[in-house]
C-alpha cells in the first residue's frame, strides 16, 4: 500500500518546471504504443513489464506491448533488416532490453537513437558520472545511448538437499565435479549466460585480470586464456553428458536442477532462486552461492532504435523505469527481486525507508552474502571467448 502512495506522490511532483522539453516529449508520447522487445524467458519479468505498461498507460497515455524474444539479438536483426529495406522511420522496435555485445553491435552500426538519457527527469537519481556502473556497459561508455533499469549479478544456485558444500572458487569446480561426475553443467556459451560462466572463470584464472578491461588483442587473449582452457579441459570430462551437450540457456538449466538432472544452476539475478521456489519451479531446499572472490555484475539497459516509430513513448517508459517507487517495487522479492540501479546517495529519506521495508526470503541472499562485484571484461573479449570455445569444443 505504501508503495502505491509513494508512487502517486511522486507522480504529483515528477514534473519539474525546468524540463519544458520533457513536457513536449510527454505530449508527443500520448496515445503511443511502445513495442518493448525484451527477453521473454522469465514470467516475473514479463508480469513486471505488463504492470509497467498499465502504469504508463494510466499516467501518460503510453501503452506498452512486450515483444517476447528468446534472444535479444532477434531485435537487433529486426532493426538491421528494416534498415536493409530502407525503412528509416516508423520501425517496428521501439525499446530493447539490451546490454553487452548487442549494444556494441547496434552502437557500431549507428542503429541507436540518442543520446537521450540525460534528458530523462529521473536520470537525476542515477550516478551517470564517467566510470560509474550505470555509465558503462561491459566497460564500453554508454554515453547516454541506453538507459539503465536493473542490476544483474552472476550467482550459482544449488540444491542444499543434495549438495553439502558447493565449490568455493571457480578452481574448486574441477575437484567438485571429479567427486560427483555428471552433476554440473553450464549454459551453451553461444548464450549470454554460458558466456558469462566462462568470463567468470576467466576473471579468476587470468594471470592479469586488469588486461581484460582493455579491448582484446590476439597476444593478450592467448596469454590470459591459457589457464582457463587448462582448467576447462580438466573440468569438462566430469560435466553433465561428458561436456558434449549443454543446456540452451539458464532457464533450461534451472529446469534440469528442478528435475534433478544436475545439482547446480546459474543465474544473473540473485533473487531468482527465491522467486523460483515461490513459483514452485525449484525445491524449497534450493539456495544461492557465489565464489569467494566475488562475481561479475553488470547493469541491464533499455535502448531505442534509430528508426523507432514511438521514440517519445519509449523515453517515457525508460524514464518511468527509473522512478524511485518503481525501482523499489522492482527490488521487492514478491514482485521481481532485481536490485535497483539508483544511487542511494541521491534518494530522500522516504525512499530509503521504502527500500529497507522490502520483505526477505530464506533463499534470498543479502548484499553482503554476494561478495564483491567484479567488472565485466571489455565486450570484445566475449566474442573472442565464445568463438574460441566453439572452435575447441564443437565436434
Amino acid at each position: 500500500m505504501r508503495l502505491i502512495t509513494t508512487l502517486s506522490l511522486l507522480a504529483a511532483f515528477a514534473a519539474p518546471p525546468a524540463l519544458a522539453d520533457w513536457q513536449d516529449t510527454l505530449d508527443a508520447a500520448r496515445d503511443q504504443t511502445v513495442y518493448w522487445n525484451a527477453w521473454g524467458g522469465d514470467e516475473r519479468t514479463n508480469a513486471f513489464i505488463t504492470w509497467v505498461g498499465k502504469q504508463t498507460e494510466a499516467r501518460y497515455g503510453v501503452s506498452v506491448r512486450q515483444v517476447r524474444l528468446s534472444d535479444t539479438a532477434e531485435a537487433v536483426t529486426r532493426v538491421i533488416s528494416e534498415r536493409a529495406a530502407g525503412k528509416d522511420t516508423g520501425g517496428s522496435v521501439d525499446l530493447i532490453w539490451i546490454n553487452g555485445p548487442n549494444f556494441l553491435a547496434m552502437r557500431e552500426q549507428d542503429l541507436l537513437f540518442g543520446p537521450f538519457v540525460a534528458d530523462l527527469p529521473n536520470a537525476r537519481y542515477v550516478d551517470l558520472s564517467p566510470g560509474a556502473p550505470a555509465a558503462l556497459d561491459f566497460t564500453v561508455p554508454v554515453e547516454g545511448m541506453e538507459s539503465p533499469w536493473r542490476l544483474a549479478k552472476f550467482v550459482f544456485t544449488y540444491d542444499s538437499a543434495r549438495v553439502e558444500t558447493p565449490p568455493r572458487s571457480m578452481a574448486e569446480f574441477v575437484d567438485w565435479a571429479a567427486a560427483t561426475p555428471g552433476r554440473f553443467t553450464h549454459p551453451d556459451p553461444s548464450n549470454f549466460m554460458g558466456a558469462t560462466f566462462l568470463k567468470q572463470a576467466l576473471i579468476e584464472l587470468a594471470p592479469d585480470p586488469a588486461v581484460l578491461l582493455e579491448p582484446v588483442t590476439e597476444a593478450a587473449f592467448a596469454t590470459q586464456t591459457a589457464p582457463l582452457w587448462e582448467w576447462y579441459d580438466a573440468l569438462r570430462p566430469n560435466m553433465w553428458r561428458g561436456g558434449t551437450a549443454f543446456p540452451e540457456n539458464q532457464s533450461v538449466q534451472q529446469q534440469l536442477l528442478n528435475d534433478g538432472d544436475v545439482d547446480i544452476s546459474v543465474s544473473f539475478d540473485p533473487a531468482s532462486t527465491a522467486a523460483a521456489i515461490a513459483q514452485g519451479l525449484l525445491p524449497d531446499t534450493a539456495r544461492v552461492f557465489v565464489p569467494e572472490g566475488g562475481t561479475i555484475g553488470n547493469v541491464s539497459f533499455v535502448a531505442i532504435p534509430y528508426n523507432a516509430a514511438n521514440a517519445e513513448g519509449a523515453q517515457v517508459v525508460a524514464n518511468f523505469l527509473l522512478e524511485p517507487a518503481v525501482q523499489a517495487r522492482m527490488q521487492n522479492i514478491e514482485v521481481l527481486g532485481s536490485f535497483s540501479v539508483l544511487d542511494p546517495a541521491r534518494l530522500d529519506a522516504e525512499t530509503h525507508a521504502a527500500f529497507s521495508a522490502l520483505p526477505g526470503a530464506a533463499a534470498l541472499p543479502t548484499l553482503e552474502d554476494l561478495g564483491p562485484t567484479l567488472p565485466e571484461p571489455h565486450a570484445s573479449w566475449v566474442t573472442h571467448l565464445t568463438e574460441a570455445w566453439a572452435r575447441r569444443y564443437t565436434r
Binding site: N37, G40, G41, D42, E43, N46, A47, T50, R65, V67, R68, L69, S70, D71, T72, A73, E74, A75, V76, T77, R78, I80, S81, E82, A84, A85, G86, K87, S92, P101, A105, Q109, G182, D188, S190, W240, R241, T244, A245, F246, E248, N249, S251, V252, Q255, L256, N258, D259, G260, D261, A276, Q279, G280, L281, P283, T383, A390, Y393, T394, R395
Partner: protein, 571 residues
C-alpha cells in the same frame, strides 16, 4: 455451353494470376533476395560485392560439416524409416481395419502441431522424464540416470519426433492411394500363386502405390531436412542441424553473419535438391532391380515378421505420441512434479487461470490467422477447381507442380529474402503479411485435400440441375458445395492445423510482434516453466482437434436427414 467454357477459362486465368502473383512470385523473389545476400550483396549492411566469401565463412564455422551430416542423417533417416514402417503397417493391417476407423486413429497425430509433440516427447524421453521415472524403482535409480536421450548429438530423438508425425501422414497418404488400386484382387492373385502377403505388397502393390505417393514423400523429405521448431526442441545443439544453425546465424548480434546465413539458406535448398536427386536415383535403381527381382519369381514367405515388427514399432511410436500429448495436459495442471514421481505432487490451475499473461492473446491471434488463411485458401481452391470443371480441362502437370512448390522449397531458403522484400514494400510486421506467408503453406494442403473429393463428385447431380435450368453459379452454390460439405470442412480443418503449426513464417513475417500459440510454445520450451509451456502446447494441439471435431460434427448435423450424404451411406 461454349459460353460456360469461356467463362471457365476466364475463371481459371484469374485463379492462375492470383496463384502466380500470390504464391510463386513471393517465393521466387524471396529466393532471389536470399541468393543475392548469399553471394555477398546486401547493401543495407554495406555489402555490395559479389563474392564467395559468405560461403567460405559458413564452411569455416565450427561444426559446419557435422551440421550438414546431421541434417542429412536426420532428414533422410526419418523419411526412410517412416516409409518402411508405414508400408509395413499398411501391408499388415490393410483390409483388417475400416478406413474410417484408421482415419479416426490417425487424425489426432495429424492435427497435433510438430512443436507440441516435440515438447511432450522431450519430457517423455529425457533422463528425468516419464519413462525414466517409471523405470526408476525397477532400476534402483535415486537420481535421473546419466543417459543421453533428448538432444542427443546424433539426432536420434529428432528422428523419432519426426517419425511420430510422419508415419501417420504417410499412412493416410498410402491409404488414400490404395483406394485407387484393386488391392484385394492383386493380393488374391499373388497369394494363389504362392507369394506371401508381405511379398505381394512389396512386389506388386508398392510399385503401383509409389507414383501416387511420390510427391507427398518429397514434401515430407523437404520438411524433415529443413525443420526448425522440432529440431530446436529435440535435436542436437552443439552443433545443431543446418536449419537451426542458420536460424542462430540470422539472429546473431553480429550483423555480418547475415551473409553466411543467406549462403547457408542456399546450401539448405541445395541439400533438399540433392535429396530429391537421390530419391530419383533410388527410384530408377529400384525399378531395374525390382523388375529383375519380380521376374526371378522367388516366393519368399519370410516378410511376415518384418510386417509385424513394423506394426509393433508403429504402435510404440503412436503410444509415445499419445503419452507426449497427455504429459502436456498434465504439466499444465501441475504445481510441483519433481523426480521421481509419476504424477504431479501438487495440482494447480494457476497456469490456466491467468489468460492475461499471454495465452488468451496468443490463442486469439492463432484463431484469427487460422480462420483468415483457411478461408482465403478455401476460396481460392474452390475457384480453381470450379474453373477446371467449367473449362472441362484436367490439371496440367505444371499446375500440379505449382501447387506443391511452396512445400518443396525449404522455408528458410526464401523467408529471409521475402522479409527484406516485404519490408521494402512497407508491408512487414502486420497481420496481413503473416496471413499471406501462412497461406503459402496452407493453400497447397487445402488444394490437395479438396481435389480428389471434388473430382469424385457424382457428375449426374450437377447435370440434373443443369437440365432443370440451373446456371453454373447456382449449380455451384446449391448443389456442389452443399454435397461437398464434408470434404470442404475436412480441407478447412487441415488448413487450420497447418496454419496453427506455422513457426518460421509467423516469426519472420510478423516481426515477432504477432504472438501465436506456436511461436510462444517454442520460445517457452526453452524456459524453466513446463507448466506454462504445457498450457500453450495443449491449446496448440487443442485448436486443430476442435477443427477436426467440427468437420466431423457439422456435416452429421446438417445432413442428419440426408442419408445419401453420410459417409458410408449409399447415394
Amino acid at each position: 455451353m461454349s459460353l460456360a467454357t469461356a467463362e471457365g477459362r476466364g475463371l481459371r486465368a484469374l485463379v492462375l494470376v492470383i496463384v502466380a502473383a500470390g504464391l510463386v512470385l513471393p517465393i521466387v523473389a524471396g529466393l532471389w533476395q536470399t541468393a543475392r545476400a548469399g553471394f555477398g550483396i546486401l547493401p543495407a549492411i554495406g555489402a555490395g560485392e559479389i563474392s564467395l566469401a559468405p560461403l567460405r565463412t559458413l564452411a569455416d564455422l565450427p561444426g559446419f560439416d557435422t551440421a550438414l551430416r546431421l541434417t542429412l542423417v536426420t532428414g533422410l533417416g526419418a523419411t526412410v524409416l517412416s516409409i518402411a514402417l508405414a508400408v509395413g503397417v499398411c501391408a499388415a493391417m490393410h483390409g483388417r481395419m475400416s478406413p474410417r476407423a484408421s482415419g479416426r486413429l490417425l487424425t489426432p497425430f495429424l492435427a497435433a502441431p510438430h512443436a507440441a509433440i516435440a515438447i511432450g516427447l522431450a519430457f517423455l524421453l529425457s533422463p528425468s522424464g516419464w519413462i525414466a521415472r517409471a523405470l526408476a524403482p525397477l532400476m534402483g535409480w535415486d537420481r535421473p540416470p546419466m543417459l543421453v536421450s533428448v538432444n542427443d548429438p546424433d539426432g536420434g530423438a529428432l528422428i523419432l519426433g519426426l517419425m511420430v508425425k510422419e508415419v501417420p501422414f504417410l499412412l493416410l497418404v498410402i491409404l488414400s492411394a490404395l483406394s485407387q488400386i484393386p488391392v484385394r484382387q492383386h493380393l488374391a492373385a499373388g497369394r494363389s500363386l504362392g507369394y506371401g502377403r508381405g511379398i505381394v505388397w512389396i512386389k506388386v502393390i508398392m510399385p503401383q502405390v509409389w507414383p501416387l505417393i511420390r510427391l507427398p514423400v518429397m514434401v515430407m523429405l523437404a520438411y524433415a531436412l529443413s525443420v526448425v521448431d522440432m529440431a530446436l526442441i529435440l535435436g542436437p545443439s552443439n552443433p545443431p542441424t543446418l536449419a537451426v544453425l542458420l536460424l542462430r546465424l540470422f539472429s546473431a548480434p553480429d550483423i555480418a553473419l547475415l551473409l553466411p546465413a543467406s549462403a547457408g539458406a542456399l546450401v539448405q535448398a541445395g541439400l533438399v535438391a540433392l535429396a530429391f536427386g537421390l530419391l530419383v536415383a533410388v527410384e530408377r535403381a529400384g525399378r531395374a532391380i525390382g523388375r529383375w527381382w519380380v521376374r526371378r519369381g522367388g516366393r519368399g514367405l519370410s516378410a511376415e515378421p518384418g510386417l509385424w515388427l513394423a506394426t509393433t514399432l508403429s504402435a510404440v511410436l503412436f503410444a509415445a505420441g499419445a503419452l507426449a500429448m497427455l504429459s502436456l495436459l498434465l504439466w499444465s495442471l501441475a504445481w510441483r512434479w519433481p523426480w521421481p514421481r509419476l504424477s504431479p505432487e501438487s495440482w494447480s490451475l494457476r497456469a490456466w487461470s491467468t489468460p492475461g499473461s499471454g495465452w488468451a492473446e496468443a490463442l486469439a491471434n492463432t484463431a484469427l490467422l487460422a480462420a483468415a488463411t483457411t478461408a482465403l485458401s478455401l476460396a481460392l481452391a474452390i475457384a480453381w477447381l470450379e474453373g477446371e470443371d467449367r473449362a472441362r480441362r484436367g490439371r496440367a502437370g505444371w499446375a500440379e507442380a505449382l501447387i506443391y512448390l511452396p512445400l518443396l522449397v525449404p522455408q528458410i531458403g526464401f523467408l529471409f529474402g521475402l522479409n527484406v522484400l516485404f519490408l521494402r514494400l512497407d508491408l512487414s510486421g502486420g497481420f496481413l503479411t503473416v496471413i499471406w506467408a501462412q497461406a503459402l503453406f496452407v493453400f497447397p494442403y487445402v488444394m490437395i485435400a479438396l481435389s480428389d473429393p471434388w473430382r469424385a463428385l457424382d457428375p449426374r447431380l450437377p447435370r440434373a440441375a443443369a437440365s432443370l435450368g440451373a446456371g453454373p453459379w447456382r449449380r455451384l452454390f446449391t448443389i456442389k458445395l452443399p454435397v461437398l460439405l464434408t470434404p470442404i470442412l475436412t480441407a478447412a480443418a487441415i488448413g487450420i492445423a497447418v496454419s496453427v503449426a506455422q513457426y518460421l513464417p509467423t516469426l519472420f513475417m510478423g516481426a515477432g510482434r504477432i504472438a501465436t500459440l506456436t511461436t510462444e510454445a517454442v520460445t517457452l520450451s526453452s524456459s524453466s516453466d513446463r507448466r506454462v509451456t504445457g498450457v500453450y502446447a495443449t491449446l496448440q494441439a487443442g485448436l486443430p482437434f476442435a477443427a477436426y471435431g467440427a468437420a466431423f460434427l457439422i456435416p452429421a448435423l446438417v445432413h442428419r436427414n440426408r442419408k445419401g450424404l453420410h459417409p458410408g451411406g449409399t447415394a
